[in-house]
């Protein structure tokens, strides 16, 4: 099924935010405190510059090949045979990441909300919903992302606001008690998590505005 849908840049932004935050909010903060201890909050914060670097690489790659997805232009970059292999890795990677997110979601719901419901029920419901959305095309997915973003943000802000009177920021001191090394160690985890934005390589051709028509000075920063 060839995709004909078009999405706006705002929809793409919200979709990416939901994609990354959805998994990161569940797992990210539980992974870094082991090594970094009190400075765990610095780990995601300091990984932001690296993520921006990843984002710049992906965007520039997209700018070089407008109206094509990574699967189509990988053979151009890597040569015919190796490129085909790289192009094959991406769909497999999406299947793999999808299965991880699926099990995360199901484990989260079974442990947090409905411990007596079988694991398979949540997985099947989510798979059916996803299949339905995929059949609807990219526009449906983008609109769901747009819709889900505000629910996500509202709950996020609500949780933050209701907990704000219990927050004691002096507990974060002293910063960098044991030096920078314990913070750098768990760094690959948030970087890998937020590098999920590479899905943009599959979505850029479906933007409705010809965003490659930027002035030449802006297109290659």
């Amino acid at each position: 099924m060839l995709e004909k849908g078009k999405i706006t840049d705002l929809q793409l932004l919200l979709l990416l935010t939901v994609t990354v935050l959805g998994t990161a909010a569940l797992l990210l903060m539980s992974l870094s405190p082991e090594a970094a201890g009190r400075d765990a909050w610095l780990v995601p914060a300091l990984s932001v510059p690296v993520i921006i670097l990843v984002a710049l690489v992906t965007v520039n790659l997209g700018l070089r090949f407008p109206n094509k997805t990574i699967v189509e232009y990988a053979p151009v970059i890597f040569g015919r045979h190796f490129g085909k292999a790289v192009a094959l890795v991406y769909p497999l990677g999406f299947i793999y990441i999808g299965s991880i997110i699926l099990s995360q979601f199901s484990f989260f719901l079974t442990t947090a909300f409905m411990p007596d419901t079988p694991f398979l029920v949540f997985s099947m419901v989510l798979v059916l919903l996803s299949a339905w959305a995929v059949r609807g095309g990219i526009e449906v997915i983008a609109r769901v992302g747009q819709f889900a973003f505000w629910i996500f943000m509202a709950s996020f802000i609500l949780i933050f606001a209701l907990l704000s009177n219990q927050m004691d920021f002096s507990k974060l001191l002293p910063v960098l008690e044991r030096g920078i090394v314990p913070i750098l160690k768990p760094m690959p985890v948030p970087i890998a998590f937020r590098s999920e934005i590479f899905v943009v390589l599959m979505l850029l051709p479906f933007l409705n505005q010809p965003w490659t028509d930027l002035p030449s000075g802006q297109s290659s920063w």
């Binding site: 099924m1 060839l2 769909p91 299947i95 793999y96 059949r135 750098l184 160690k185 690959p188």
Partner: protein, 69 residues
């Protein structure tokens, strides 16, 4: 269980394949059958109770040198 599985996969094929044959999308058809066969094999083995190897182990070993311990 296996009957339900075959029914579900037949339903998926019935949904997708006729449209692709009509539009003569050969590449899409091949991609569909490959992924369909992969999914069917894995679910069939799971339904039969066979232990399927987890690709996470392989990926973990691939990326372990990059993670400082």
């Amino acid at each position: 269980m296996i009957f339900l599985l075959i029914l579900a996969f037949a339903f998926i094929a019935w949904l997708e394949v006729p449209g692709m044959i009509q539009k003569k999308q050969k590449g899409e058809l091949i991609a569909f059958w490959v992924i369909w066969a992969m999914a069917f094999t894995l679910s069939f083995l799971m339904a039969m109770g066979v232990k399927v190897p987890n690709p996470t182990k392989f990926i973990q070993e691939l990326f372990m040198p990059l993670v400082p311990k």
